[in-house]
């Protein structure tokens, strides 16, 4: 653990990683743990992380009844079955619709509210902030019954709109706090300068602030999408019609069958994971900055 030992154990420190944004900037002694102290625990943890992924791929690709540990001979039969016979094609469409609609609604509404919180002092501000924080303690799962009654009243049971609204509402508080923190980090003087140049408030916001909010918007938007894509309780409760179900509900149906078709379940799981993997690959580099700028810092 001590630095001197550290340098002894690793006489030739590995060259700094050529990471694109800031190359070889930090090569401090404190930074240089012995290599095995990095690779050994990381390797062990990676095995734990990756085996489950491999397992689902294996089950999705190998023929039913096979016990081979490599997916060979490979088959797409499970995917075809799940996509057409088990309705995952329809579920997938519904899930995309819900995810995209939630993304846009959450981002728009949270952006407006976040701007107000960041830039204005108004009478109910403290109370509103408190309400946002308190809402974090309200478990959506426990409001299922009253929510069901509200949507029944609005004649929205069995319509994707109910799920979109419910997902948006529960995404809002955190998204708004996040975005207001991002907006606070943009100096007000930039906007004021734009006003002097003759922009009205909306135009100044659109031209000056919005481009600087990209990391924040990407973080909030992708969280909203991924959350609504993944969440299944609202869809399970509010959508009774098979045609209207979403992917997670479909997965749950596969799992709760009397004898689980493991191949179909695995293929369905992969279908459920694909959009999330795409979003995740896309936001990787924004994720850390997004969090550090918005979430944890005040």
């Amino acid at each position: 653990m001590i630095t001197k030992e550290a340098t002894k154990a690793a006489p030739a420190p590995a060259p700094a990683v050529p990471e694109p944004p800031r190359p070889a900037k930090r090569r401090r002694a404190w930074d240089e743990a012995p290599r095995w102290q990095i690779y050994l625990p990381l390797g062990v943890y990676l095995v734990f992380t990756l085996i489950p992924f491999y397992w689902i791929l294996l089950f999705a690709l190998r023929p039913a009844g096979s016990t081979s540990l490599v997916p060979w001979p490979m088959t797409t039969a499970h995917f075809e079955k799940v996509w057409t016979d088990r309705g995952f094609g329809t579920f997938f469409q519904n899930s995309v619709l819900v995810g995209v609609a939630t993304l846009f609604m959450t981002t728009l509404v949270a952006l407006a509210g976040g701007y107000a919180l960041a830039r204005f002092d108004f009478r109910v501000k403290r109370g509103f902030m408190l309400a946002l924080l308190c809402s974090q303690f309200v478990p959506g799962a426990l409001l299922l019954v009253p929510l069901f009654e509200i949507f029944a009243e609005l004649r929205m049971i069995n319509s994707l709109g109910s799920v979109i609204i419910a997902e948006t509402v529960f995404q809002l508080p955190l998204s708004m706090i996040l975005l207001s923190n991002f907006i606070k980090n943009v100096p007000y003087s930039l906007e004021e300068a734009a006003w002097v140049d003759g922009c009205n408030r909306f135009r100044a916001f659109r031209v000056v602030v919005l481009p600087l909010l990209r990391p924040g918007l990407i973080a909030v938007g992708s969280f909203a999408f991924v959350h609504s894509w993944n969440h299944f309780l609202f869809a399970l409760m509010f959508l009774n019609n098979q045609e209207k179900q979403t992917v997670p509900v479909g997965l749950n149906t596969l799992m709760s069958a009397d004898s689980v078709d493991l191949g179909a379940l695995a293929a369905g799981g992969i279908i459920a994971a694909v959009p999330v993997v795409i979003v995740f690959a896309f936001i990787q580099k924004w994720l850390i900055t997004g969090f550090s700028a918005g979430a944890v810092k005040g």
Binding site: V17, W30, A112, L142, N200, L262, G269, L287
Partner: protein
């Protein structure tokens, strides 16, 4: 949707130079859509839960509906062993999950914060289960744990354990099995948050400590950990609330079984309202759960001196 459209309306009055003088109604206009949505779909349902908690309300037994006073609450505390059992299990679940997630998450964050060959790839792989849903996590671990072609079969091939073992249907193994499944996707959450906060530690501090000859462990203990304190308190609290409330994983993985041994309080409540249609009693349970959660959070924030001395 109509509410969202209101946002796009350029709110500033035409006289522009004075635009910096805040139009008084603008902030209210801006928070209106969010406020309305939250009033209608969070505040109102919460209030109706409080209201129903004082009622006997069961749509399948309308003849018994009516005002119940504190009857539901008396029943919870005096006549419901399931409430106690599920609450204890919830506490156990949250405590073990959050503790282990923090421990592994912190270790992982410290590791991938180092400079080493393959760091970008390592980070991406380590964080990847973060975005996997509860239902998908269940699906994956159902495949791993299944008694015929699951991991136990291949372990048995190697001479470890027996064939046909199903960890999820044995009361003695179901708890660790479920804990591991949830850890798999929970650890990256902490690792990401802590890594984000690690980026903001001033490098000068480490350099100064280096000059003073502080060991790496001492640097961690006296510089890194104090810096992370607030982030750790906040993320453990948020995670604890989330782990308490979330039902996705256990609902689909074990369904609360075998023999009710993995039923959390929210799962019990969901069963009471959805299966038994006993809305009044479920509402009272919800109220109690909510109060317990709020109380524990307050105590935790107070004890941990959140936002205290730097």
């Amino acid at each position: 949707m109509a509410q969202a459209a209101a946002v796009a309306k350029p709110p500033a009055p035409p006289r522009r130079r004075r635009a910096s003088a805040t139009p008084r109604r603008l902030p209210y206009l801006l928070i209106a859509p969010a406020a309305l949505l939250m009033l209608g779909f969070i505040a109102y349902p919460v209030l109706s839960v409080f209201y129903y908690s004082l009622q006997d309300y069961n749509p399948t037994k309308p003849w018994r509906n009516g005002f119940a006073g504190f009857g539901n609450f008396t029943r919870i505390f005096t006549d419901d062993p399931l409430f106690r059992d599920t609450l204890v299990f919830s506490a156990k679940w949250v405590f073990v999950e959050v503790g282990l997630q923090l421990l592994f998450g912190l270790a992982l964050a410290l590791i991938v914060n180092q400079t080493f060959v393959g760091r970008a790839l390592g980070r991406a792989l380590v964080f990847s289960p973060w975005a996997v849903s509860g239902v998908l996590t269940s699906a994956i671990w159902v495949l791993l744990y299944n008694s015929q072609t699951g991991i136990t079969r291949y372990l048995a091939d190697m001479g470890v354990g027996e064939y046909g073992v199903s960890w999820l249907s044995d009361t003695s193994t179901v708890f660790p099995a479920a804990i591991v499944a949830d850890l798999w996707r929970g650890v990256p959450f902490f690792a990401i948050l802590i890594l984000a906060d690690l980026q903001s530690v001033s490098k000068d501090l480490y350099e100064a400590a280096e000059v003073d000859g502080a060991s790496r462990f001492k640097q961690f203990w006296h510089i890194t950990l104090p810096h992370l304190k607030d982030a750790i308190i906040l993320s453990t609290l948020l995670r604890a609330v989330w782990e308490f409330n979330n039902v996705d994983l256990l609902y689909t993985l074990t369904g609360g079984g075998p023999a009710g041994t993995t039923t959390t309080l929210p799962l019990y409540i969901a069963n009471t309202s959805v299966d038994a249609h006993d809305f009044g009693y479920a509402s009272a349970l919800t109220t109690v759960a909510f109060v317990i959660l709020l109380f524990c959070s307050m105590v935790y924030l107070r004890l941990s001196k959140f936002g205290g001395e730097k």
